[in-house]
C-alpha cells in the first residue's frame, strides 16, 4: 500500500463536496450538468488516487470508465434528451425548498454524515476516513436534491449524485470487490439512466411538462 500526501486527499474530497453544492445551489439544468461533470472528473481522479494507494490495477479501469461514462457519455445523453424535449423552461422554477435553505440543510447533512461515520472502525485507513464521510454526504445530498426539487430533470441529476456517492463509497470500502460486481452495478445504473431518459420523454409528451408536481394523479384521498 502506497502512502500519499493527506493534503491531496483532503483537497479532492473538498472539491467533490463543492461540486455537489454546485447542484444544490443552482437552478438551471445546464449548471447542474456542469457541476455533475466536474464532480465526475474529480471522482475519476479520486478513483485514480485510490488505485494508486491500493495498488490494484483494476481500479484504474474503473477510473477510466468513470471518466468516460460519467463525465462524457451521461452528460451527453442528458443534453441530447433535453434538446429533444420540447419544453421551454429547463430550470427549477419553484422548488419545494428554497435554494438558501437547501444549502444550509445540505451542510447539515454533511455534518451528519461525518457524525455517523465516526462510529465505524476504519482501522486508521486515511483513504477511507477521508472519503467515506464525503460519499455518505454525497448520497444524502443527492437524496435531498430529489426530495426538494420538482423538476423531473433535477431528480435525475439527484439520482446521479446518489450514484456517484455509492460508487465512491463502495470503492473506498471495498477497493473494488470484484470487477464482475462492479460492472454489474455500473450496468444497472446505466440502464437506469436510459430508462429514466425514456421516461422523461414520455412524461414530457404525456404531461406537457417536466414538473413532477403534475404527477399526482395516483394518490389516496
Amino acid at each position: 500500500m502506497e502512502t500519499i500526501q493527506p493534503d491531496i486527499l483532503t483537497i479532492s474530497a473538498a472539491i467533490l463536496l463543492i461540486a455537489t453544492f454546485g447542484v444544490v445551489a443552482r437552478r438551471g439544468f445546464l449548471d447542474w450538468l456542469n457541476a455533475y461533470r466536474l464532480q465526475s472528473v474529480v471522482l475519476a481522479g479520486v478513483t485514480g488516487i485510490v488505485g494508486y494507494v491500493t495498488g490494484i490495477w483494476e481500479i484504474y479501469i474503473a477510473a477510466a470508465l468513470t471518466l468516460v461514462i460519467k463525465s462524457v457519455i451521461i452528460p451527453k445523453v442528458l443534453t441530447y434528451v433535453t434538446r429533444r424535449l420540447e419544453i421551454e423552461f429547463k430550470m427549477e422554477t419553484n422548488p419545494y425548498v428554497s435554494l438558501r435553505t437547501a444549502v444550509i440543510i445540505s451542510a447539515f447533512l454533511v455534518a451528519l454524515s461525518y457524525f455517523l461515520i465516526q462510529q465505524i472502525p476504519l482501522k486508521s485507513d486515511p483513504v477511507a476516513s477521508t472519503y467515506l464521510p464525503v460519499s455518505v454526504a454525497l448520497f444524502l445530498i443527492g437524496l435531498f436534491v430529489i426530495v426538494s426539487r420538482r423538476a423531473a430533470l433535477s431528480q435525475v441529476v439527484g439520482l446521479l449524485i446518489i450514484e456517484n456517492g455509492l460508487f465512491l463509497f463502495t470503492l473506498v470500502l471495498t477497493h473494488g470487490v470484484s470487477l464482475l460486481i462492479e460492472m454489474g452495478i455500473f450496468a444497472d445504473i446505466l440502464v437506469g439512466i436510459v430508462i429514466s431518459s425514456i421516461l422523461l420523454f414520455r412524461i414530457s409528451q404525456t404531461f406537457d411538462s417536466l414538473d413532477i408536481g403534475k404527477l399526482e394523479n395516483l394518490r389516496d384521498d
Binding site: 455517523l116 462510529q119 465505524i120 472502525p121 482501522k123 455518505v136 448520497f139 437524496l143 430529489i146 423531473a152 431528480q155 439520482l159 446518489i162 450514484e163 455509492l166 463509497f169 463502495t170 470500502l173 471495498t174 470487490v177 470484484s178 460486481i181 454489474g184 452495478i185 444497472d188 440502464v191 437506469g192 430508462i195 429514466s196 421516461l199 414520455r202 412524461i203 404525456t206 404531461f207 413532477i212 404527477l215 394523479n217 395516483l218 389516496d220 384521498d221
Partner: protein
Amino acid sequence: MQLTEIFTESNTTILLLFLTPVIASILVTIFRQKRISEIVTVSSAFLILLQAFFIISRIINDKTMSAFGNTFYVDSLGAIILLPISLVGFVSALYSVNYMGRQFDNGMVDLKHITRYYQGFNVFLLAMLVVPIANNLGILWITVEATTLISVLLIMLYFKQNAIEAAWKYLIIATVGLSFALIGTTFFYYANINAGTSVDAMNWTEMIHNSKLFDPNLVKIAFVFILIGYGTKAGLAPMHTWLPDAHSEAPTPVSALLSGVLLNCALYGILRFHIISSYSIGSAFSSQLLIILAIISVGIAAASIYFQKDMKRMLAYSSVEHMGLVSLGIGFGGLLGIYGAILQIINHAIAKPMMFFVSGTISQKYETKAMSKITGIIKTMPITGALFLVGGLALVGMPPFNIFLSEFMILGSGFKSGQFLATSLVILFLIVTFAVFLRHLIRMVFGKPYTEMKTNEMGNLAVIPIVILGALVFILGVYVPEQLQTLVHDASTIVSQGGSP
C-alpha cells in the same frame, strides 16, 4: 477447467434453470408472433416450475446445493423463495395468455407491445430466479435492482398517463431505496474483510461463517441501511409509497408477479442480513427494527384500505400489510414466529396473485377498476365471484384459508416472545383491516349490478389459474404437506439458528 467439471449435476441444473427463460426470450424476439410467444412463455414457465420442483426436492433431502464453485448456493431458505417464483411465474404466464389476448383483441395493445411484454416477462422471471440462488450478496443486490428496471419497463408497457406516473415514482423510489441496500451490503462486506476473510468476502456462506467476528457497531449501522433499502423494495412502511401505484398500474399478470414474488425476493434480502446480524450481535437489534416497521406497515395498510377506490390499489395495500406481518413474525422470532413468517411468504404468494388475477378478470369484464362501479360480481360471473370471495377472505385472515394459519402462528409467537403491546396493536389493526376490506369486498361481490350484464365467465384460461391458486389457498389452510413442512422447518431453523440448517 474441465468440461466435466463444469457440467456437474448441480451446475447443469442451475444452468438449465437460467437458460430456459433466456431461450424463451430469444425465441420471442425472433418470432414476434403472438401465438408463438404465448406458447413459448407458458412452456418455459412450466419447465421452470418443474426444474424448481426438482431443485426443491433435492434441497429437502440434501439441505443445500451449490453450483459453479461457490457462486450459486441454494439452501432451504432459498428454496422457499424459489417455490413462489416458479409457481406464480407459471400461473401468471398461463393467465397472461387470456389477459393479454383480450387486451390485444380490445385494441389496447398491438403486436409490438405483446412481444415486448413477453420478452420482459421472461427476463423478469430470469432476474428473480437468480435472487434466491445467488450466493454472492452483491449479485443479490444487482439482480434485485435489475428486477426494478425490468418491471419499470413492464409497468409502462402501455404508456398510459397513470402508468408513466407510477413507473416514474417506482423507478425513483426503488432506485434510491436500493442504493441504501448497496451501502448496507458494502458495510457487511467491509465487516467481513475486517474480520479477516479475504476470499469471496461478499458471499453469504463466508459472511455467516465469520459473522461472530463482525464489529457490532458496523453491523448495526449496516443493518439499518439494509432494512431501509430492501424494505423499500419489499414495501415496508413508510417506504411503501411506490407500491400501490406500481402494483395497480401494471398489467395484471405483472402485478401478480410484483406483489406475490418480487416483494418476497426483497424480503429475502432482509432475511439474509437479519440472520447475519442476529448471528453476529444477537437478534434483539434487528428484531426490534423489524417489529417497528412491521407495525407501521400493518397500521398504514389498515388505514389506507378503507379509502381506496381502485380495486388493485386495495390489493396492493393488503400486500403492505402482509409484508408487515412477515417481518413481524421474523421480528418476534422463535421457531413459531419464523415458521409463521415463512409460511406467510408462501401463503401470500399464493393468495395475492390469485386476487390480482380475479381483479384483472373483473376489470376486463366491467371495463373499470373503480370499485364503485363494480357490483354484483356473483351475478355476472358466479365462479369468479366465488373465487374473489375466497381470496378476499383469505387475505384478511379468515380460516379455513391459508393465511389464517400463518397469521395465527405469528400472533402466537408475539405473545410467546412477550411482545404483548406490539401484538395487541397488530391485532387491533388486523380487525380494522378485516372490517374495511370486507366492506369493499362484499359490496363488490353481492351488490346490485349497475348495468344489465350477461352472466358469463371470461374464458377458461382466465378461470383455471385462479382455480389452481384458490385450491391451494384452501388446502394449505387445513393441510400442509409433509415435504413443505420439512422445507419450512429447515428454513426457519436457518433463520433462528443462524445459517446451519
